[in-house]
Chain length 343, copies 2
């Protein structure tokens, strides 16, 4: 059933206002503040209808009305005006995101802190998770007499390293030869396709017995996948909002956010959409302890095949429009930064 225009206007007004003030709205206030064309009584009747339809709720008999989760859902999907970042906001954002260090880690942290600073909510980033990497290249580097660093490059240009003792008589040239052969042998193989039985390794083991077992272990671990790291920022922001003046709620929020695994699970379950922001409102999270929270997620790509998520989590009464455009802008900025990194 389609809502009348007037109902939509009223619902939008209530949600807009509630997002700002966290105060239940009465018919009088709505009329005065937003819709002076209609009398309070008219609005009162409409509000009763909207409650009937499940878009509004009454905290108690004689309070005003408050949006319900379905109300917010309708709002996000249809009612809300898309927020456009102003010029100065975009500049501010770009300035904050300017990174000197060109490390993935640093960029991600910065993006995270930028989002929380700009939205005043708690932000998080989850780095792309890769479950099975392929071998790309290996390099043995002499870092001092008898000590060698093994550097592995895997698909997605992930870098892993490990130290190992080496025979004293080995030279960098020798290491380079070994590196070359291993790279040729293993190129583009996964951990369990790798085979250490060739003649080459038998030979090597005579000169340098530690190498093969160490390599075996290292490659096994390094190629088994990684990522899925969680970064958080602005957890204290939750206290800005009335609904979390209550210690119990604040605690359950913190408990959730503190636990990387549960956050990762939730995000993984939710983030299907590619281009647009995912919005999860209140109990849509499916978790009892998060029924007072909403999340907004956006995915970003480090490379074609590896995607991470950036998002915010805050009260259900959230400035969705603003958050969504901020996240879209940031994710876009991250995408271009990462693309440039490969250039």
């Amino acid at each position: 059933m389609e809502l009348s225009d007037r109902k939509k206007k009223i619902l939008k007004a209530i949600i807009d206002d509630y997002i700002e003030t966290a105060e239940p709205l009465g018919s009088l206030t709505v009329a005065r503040r937003y819709l002076s064309d209609y009398s309070p009584a008219t609005i009162r009747n409409e509000m009763a209808d909207l409650e009937e339809l499940g878009y509004l709720e009454k905290p108690h008999t004689s309070a005003g009305r408050v949006p319900s989760y379905t109300g917010y859902r309708l709002y996000v999907d249809m009612l809300m005006e898309k927020y456009r970042l102003t010029m100065s906001e975009m500049e501010d954002l770009s300035r904050r995101l300017e990174i000197k260090a060109r490390e993935l880690d640093g960029i991600v942290r910065k993006a995270c802190s930028t989002v929380s600073a700009l939205t005043d909510y708690t932000s998080f980033v989850i780095t792309p998770q890769v479950s099975q990497l392929k071998f790309k290249n290996i390099k043995l580097i002499m870092i001092q007499e008898g000590l060698v660093l093994i550097v592995l490059v895997a698909t997605g240009d992930m870098i892993k390293d490990r130290r190992i003792k080496a025979p004293l008589d080995i030279t960098q040239e020798g290491l380079d030869r070994i590196s070359g052969v291993i790279t040729d042998l293993f190129c583009l193989k996964t951990a369990n396709e790798i085979d250490f039985e060739s003649v080459f390794f038998v030979e090597i083991s005579k000169l340098w017995p530690e190498l093969v077992p160490c390599l075996k272990e290292f490659l096994g671990e390094a190629l088994s996948g990684s990522g899925g790291d969680v970064y958080l920022d602005g957890t204290a922001n939750i206290f800005r909002y009335r609904e979390y003046q209550d210690v119990g709620r604040a605690k359950s929020f913190m408990d959730f956010v503190d636990d990387e695994e549960s956050l990762k699970n939730l995000v993984r379950k939710a983030s299907q959409g590619e281009t647009i922001c995912e919005v999860i409102i209140g109990s849509e999270t499916g978790r009892q302890d998060l029924k007072d929270c909403s999340m907004v997620l956006k995915s970003y790509s480090v490379s074609d095949d590896s995607k991470g998520s950036i998002g915010i989590i805050g009260p259900v009464r959230m400035d969705y429009a603003r958050v969504m455009s901020t996240l879209e802008y940031i994710a876009d900025a991250m995408d271009t930064i990462f693309r440039r990194m490969i250039d």
Copy 2:
């Protein structure tokens, strides 16, 4: 002035109890619960003295007494019994700390989460900060046609990397030669001792013009130092304690903990001691917003010259004995893990 034995006993009893219950203690309770040899009246008199001396405080006229900061200080320095981890606690701890991935990052995260899980306070780790690194070794690795990965090893065996486009006709052997020469030229130099004017670079620039400027920038950044990363865990633990049922306090705690810089500053200022735990009680932090918190810090070493800090932060009423021995044990465990990593 030296306290009498009886005064010490009473003070210790009060602090021990207060740490557990967070409830002001009256003379009657002290007598009944800890010191039935003396009558409440005697204890009352002694408590009045202890208040006079500044070790106890009264929240109000007719409440019991509560330890003051100087009281806690005395307790930590002289009164408290050193806590010894039980066998099963040590086992639990070692089990949690068992790491599959042998990456610095992973170990540190794990140590952090272990501490907060075991102490029920908020824990943090700050990785060693190195302000000026020296060049040790460089290696150019072909990761695909026309794309090269530069891997730098610096003092402390820090690894940094960057991608760069390369001429299509270059081979891995060519890269190995270049790597060798650069390593010889720059070995053990700092960023500003490095000189790109030699004939070698002039020659190289003809074949591969992007390399020199890219290297310049990369080495500049990579050798300028790094570390000082902050990891946090168990922030939600603060809600376990009565004194943080108050939203205002919880907020200022979170605000502090959220801000990596302020945490780093405070830790840097405090952590001088090498062998033993540093304890900072209440206003000793010198920050108004942290006057209800205490910190305990312990340093750990990744290598001889680079030390990080691990610690916890919680209410002033903290189980110092337990926290200190946990931290000492963990720091010790980390030291041996890192030592083994080099072996």
